[in-house]
């Protein structure tokens, strides 16, 4: 049984369908990515899974349970964390407080401290800046903090919305390293990316979205070698 299963999801904003019935699955322990152009509905998909947006039709199952109508707070409690688009760290809170607020629903004090140290070991830069306000961090550091904050919820599934957006190539490489590290600890990752190349290299399975529909899917290697994908998303000119 897959960890997350989405069936025929339809979402509309003010009469316009952002998702026109998409279905996909995320297997336990894998990195699954949704790639596609701006406006394809990738962010809407994650926001709907998180309960921030209510779907028009379709169902979402997590660990076999129907979570379509469950509220955001319960969904976090069940083990789905989100790293939102644009990082959205709490600029007026310190780095440490941003991590603590990730553990807002948890009551296991000693384990929270352990997890803070774990996040600091993943991102030593955050430890150095522990007492700084998050708003003073660089973009890359904020992204690390947003990931760290999501890890603090002890999720089974971590969803990331464009973690590489607007970051320097070196920082992007670091972020992808961390995604692989999270996978190696048993976490499942659902990743949205415009950086299709990096995402396809990192992922186990990928779905391609176009204007609210899933058009193609396959393993990362399959899609990397597909000419249509290369042409549309990887910037390589067709040779035929």
């Amino acid at each position: 049984m897959s960890l997350l299963k989405v069936t025929d999801l339809v979402v509309s904003y003010g009469g316009i369908e952002a998702l026109k019935g998409i279905s996909f699955e995320v297997e336990q322990g894998q990195i699954v990515t949704l790639i596609g152009a701006n406006g394809a509905g990738k962010s809407t998909t994650l926001r709907t899974i998180s309960g921030l947006v209510s779907p028009h039709a379709g169902r979402i199952y997590f660990e076999g349970r129907d979570i379509t109508d469950v509220n955001t707070q319960k969904i976090v409690e069940m083990g789905i964390a989100m790293v939102p688009e644009g990082r959205r760290v709490f600029a007026n809170l310190t780095v440490l407080e941003n991590l603590r607020i990730g553990a807002y629903l948890r009551k296991d004090k000693t384990e929270i401290e352990e997890d803070i140290n774990y996040v600091y070991s993943l991102f030593p830069r955050l430890k150095e800046r522990s007492w700084q306000l998050a708003g003073t961090l660089s973009g890359g550091e904020q992204q690390m903090l947003a990931v760290g904050r999501a890890v603090m919820t002890r999720p089974k599934l971590i969803m990331m919305d464009e973690p590489s957006l607007g970051l320097a190539p070196l920082v992007v490489r670091d972020i992808f390293k961390i995604i692989l590290t999270l996978k190696s600890t048993g976490m499942t990752v659902l990743l949205i990316e415009q950086n299709a190349n990096a995402a396809l290299h990192a992922c186990d399975y990928a779905y391609v979205m176009e204007t609210g529909r899933i058009t193609t899917s396959g393993t990362g290697d399959e899609l990397l070698s597909s000419e249509a994908i290369q042409e549309a998303y990887l910037g390589k000119a067709s040779r035929s």
Binding site: L52, T72, Q73, N92, T136
Partner: protein, 292 residues
């Protein structure tokens, strides 16, 4: 010179402290909802009437905690009924709703009291006369600033050093991401209304002790001045609201000392205009540290 000014200074600090107790409610709610809670001054007045009706049959020692409790319930209900359903509506709608609540409360008070001024009970403890150097004053004059500073310090500690305080700060910048952390934003918002109303209730006990009667519109002026104080201090900042309120209270009374009593209210609103013109974020207004 000092001897003549001392009573005015004391009165200024005292009335400033009372404005501060109201101003905190404005600034707290604004900090989280970006809403000027126009009903806040009326909640303050309602607290005055609660006191009058409760002391009619209960001893003062029991009435005061009950007044705080009833005011808190009123603030909580107002938020749930008039503001919560508009959470995702444009800011203008919720502001209009706040104005509506203000009129509703005022008219309810007219209806219940029959429009007659009601006698505020004498609180013997706060009204006893004490001597400070050359000045004789009521004990409330000394109690108010001390209580205000104590409560504001406690509130700042709550916001900076507790889990609910951290949640309040998080919700104040980003509803959606706060939800993604598992924070129930409605509970956090209710907490801010509860704190604001409790402070207004305590402020009303201190304020009305100096007056003999309460009418349904009597809260409008102190409410408005507290609002100016919150803007002057930098709306959203709790220490700012207190300092703004103290400055306004002291200035008003110094103007009275100078024999210009008729202009003391005008001063407050002139100050508002000057602040809005030259420093719209106030003394301690939020600086934007967002990085895009």
């Amino acid at each position: 010179m000092f001897d003549t000014l001392l009573p005015y200074l004391l009165a200024g600090i005292s009335v400033g402290g009372q404005y501060a107790m109201i101003a905190v409610g404005y600034t707290l709610v604004y900090g989280i909802l970006r809403l000027i809670n126009f009903a806040h001054g009326d909640i303050f007045t309602a607290a005055g009437f609660f006191m009058i009706y409760l002391t009619a049959s209960l001893p003062i020692g029991i009435s005061i905690p009950l007044v705080i409790l009833l005011t808190v319930v009123l603030g909580f209900v107002v938020e749930r009924v008039a503001y919560k359903p508009l959470r995702s509506a444009p800011r203008m709608s919720i502001m209009i709703s706040a104005i509506g609540v203000s009129y509703l409360l005022q008219n309810l008070m007219w209806y219940i009291t029959g429009g007659l001024a009601k006698q505020y009970p004498v609180l013997p403890f706060l009204s006893q006369t004490i001597r400070l150097g050359s000045a004789a004053t009521k004990l409330v004059t000394i109690v108010t600033p001390l209580l205000t500073i104590g409560l504001v310090v406690a509130l700042v500690m709550l916001i900076n050093h507790t889990k609910i305080g951290m949640a309040m700060r998080a919700v104040s910048v980003d509803f959606e991401t706060s939800q993604l952390m598992g924070i129930k934003i409605n509970s956090v918002i209710s907490v801010t209304f509860i704190i604001g109303s409790a402070m207004a209730a305590i402020g009303s006990v201190l304020y009305f002790t100096n007056y003999t009667a309460v009418t349904p519109t009597v809260g409008a002026m102190p409410g408005l001045k507290a609002f100016v104080a919150a803007v002057f201090g930098g709306i959203g900042s709790i220490p700012g609201a207190m300092i703004g309120a103290l400055i306004i209270g002291i200035c008003e009374n110094l103007i009275k000392a100078a024999g210009l009593t008729a202009f003391s209210d005008a001063f407050t609103f002139a100050l508002l205009i000057v602040v809005l013109l030259f420093r719209p974020t106030g003394l301690f207004g939020e600086k934007n540290t967002d990085k895009v």
